[in-house]
């Protein structure tokens, strides 16, 4: 079983879901449909996949000042990822989680993990624990 300790960026109760490892950076604003969590950017290699309920591994994000609004909307309508694993902290994106927590809405945990370490988690069921431990469930 693969397990790694990641740094907690935004605390949450931890989450479990199928891994979705993005193959390219994404802009949440314009790149993810805020209603259902589908990847809407036609130029993205995983266009059409849905991030809702997944443990989402982000190799990079393309900064948009409205990325936080998309993530907050997903947290509000129940289509947020189960957990986020980011190569680099993106304060504007994660602001969506900070606000969701303030609103008292269910907030997925966000952790930081080097993208070189994403590969072993591909296609697995993943648990991200509240302490930031990322593990594949056999």
């Amino acid at each position: 079983m693969t397990a790694l300790q990641a740094e907690v960026l935004v605390a949450g109760s931890g989450g479990t879901g199928e891994a979705l490892i993005l193959d390219a950076p994404i802009s949440f604003w314009g790149g993810v449909d805020p209603k259902a969590g589908r990847i809407a950017d036609v130029r993205h290699p995983q266009h059409g996949r849905c991030i809702a309920g997944k443990v989402l591994f982000l190799p990079g994000t393309i900064g948009s000042s409205s990325a936080s609004a998309v993530l907050l909307e997903l947290a509000h309508n129940g289509h947020a990822p189960a957990a986020l694993v980011l190569h680099q902290p993106d304060a504007i994106l994660l602001l969506g989680l900070i606000v969701a927590r303030e609103m008292g809405w269910e907030t997925p945990i966000a952790v930081r993990l080097d993208r070189d370490r994403f590969a072993p988690f591909r296609d697995a069921q993943i648990e991200v624990a509240a302490d930031g431990r990322v593990s594949a469930i056999p």
Partner: protein
Amino acid sequence: MALELTDAERATAAGGDGRAMAMRIVVATAELLGAPRLIPIASAHIDGALYHGDSGTLFAERLVAGGAKVAVRATLNVGALDLTGCSKNRLPGREAGMARRMMDAYRGLGCEPSWTCTPYQAGHRPLRGSDVAWGESNAVVFCNSVLGARTNRYGDFLDIACAIAGVAPDYGLHRPENRIATFVFDVGALPADFLASEIAWPVLGSLYGREAGDDVGVVAGITAHPGEDALKAFGAAAASSGAVGLFHVAGVTPEAPDLDTALGFGKPTRTIKVTREMAADAQRRLSTAELPAAIDAVAIGSPHLSPREFAELERLIGGRRLAVPFYACTGRHVLAELERRGGRAALEASGVTIVADTCVVVTPIMPENITGVLMTNSGKFAHYAPGNTGYSVLYGSLSDCVESAVAGKPSLTEMAL
């Protein structure tokens, strides 16, 4: 470096009201950014009142319910609705209702109902060197570059949180060492008549943004101040094609009395020598429609038109009747003046739809037409219209936009080559 808070900041964050919520949002963001402290801000420009979904409305209403008020002057960027009634909107009833609630909530927080993306032309001009928290990419870049005030690119939620808390994370462009240009964008080899043309600044801005990414650069080779509307068009285009928050123009903008000062008396990491071919290519890339036989609409005013730009529009139309819909977006601060001198009536008689408080790429005002061709002189509209409206874009000067609107088919006379 760990974030250090004052006792007063800590006490505010520990409260149970709307101001406490705002402070906690600022503090959590400062921690993610690695900021060492919070700094007081002098003003804010709030981009968060544009409806993207119910969650944003509920957030603003939660702050209102918690008794929060802005601690500093805060102007509002565009909303999703034209509250002046100049233009009609196709937003469905429920969404329009939530958008209206959102606009009301932000007013309830004490923000000024300016509803414009050009607050800097509506009397909100922070002092050079002051720290502010501004949102809306073109306003951010103008504030930093042309006014010399200091702001990062604040987005939804953080802009209003900073305005209520009265503080912002000490980070990025608030720090003088991050405001020094690291590259030179030299336009000195371009023909003087092109540099003097209206299209030069938006075209060069879109090229600059692609080259810059989020680096700070300095434009060299400009011999005379091009005017604020030109710098406005440059910044808006640059902040659409790149993550530009600050540019300098040597001899023109306040932190660049000369090239050496803009570069902090250091060596640039690179110098981009802009050629005529690069400018012509940048102009071509602003269009997505290939030589259409006809155009379906014209939209101008991103950023919002100034009184001077309206005067030029009236002069170019000269009372003629336009053959296609023509949208001119502006703020209510300009509308009042336009009405006083009869400009609004004259333009509407020619077929111009004036759009106030909002703009045609952020809310559905133009007829739905996925095969339509939209002509514009705005580098920012050119960038966002295809994705946000479905229209393809033909880019041209204001004069070409007007002649094309009169004829109903493209007339392109002003080109970079």
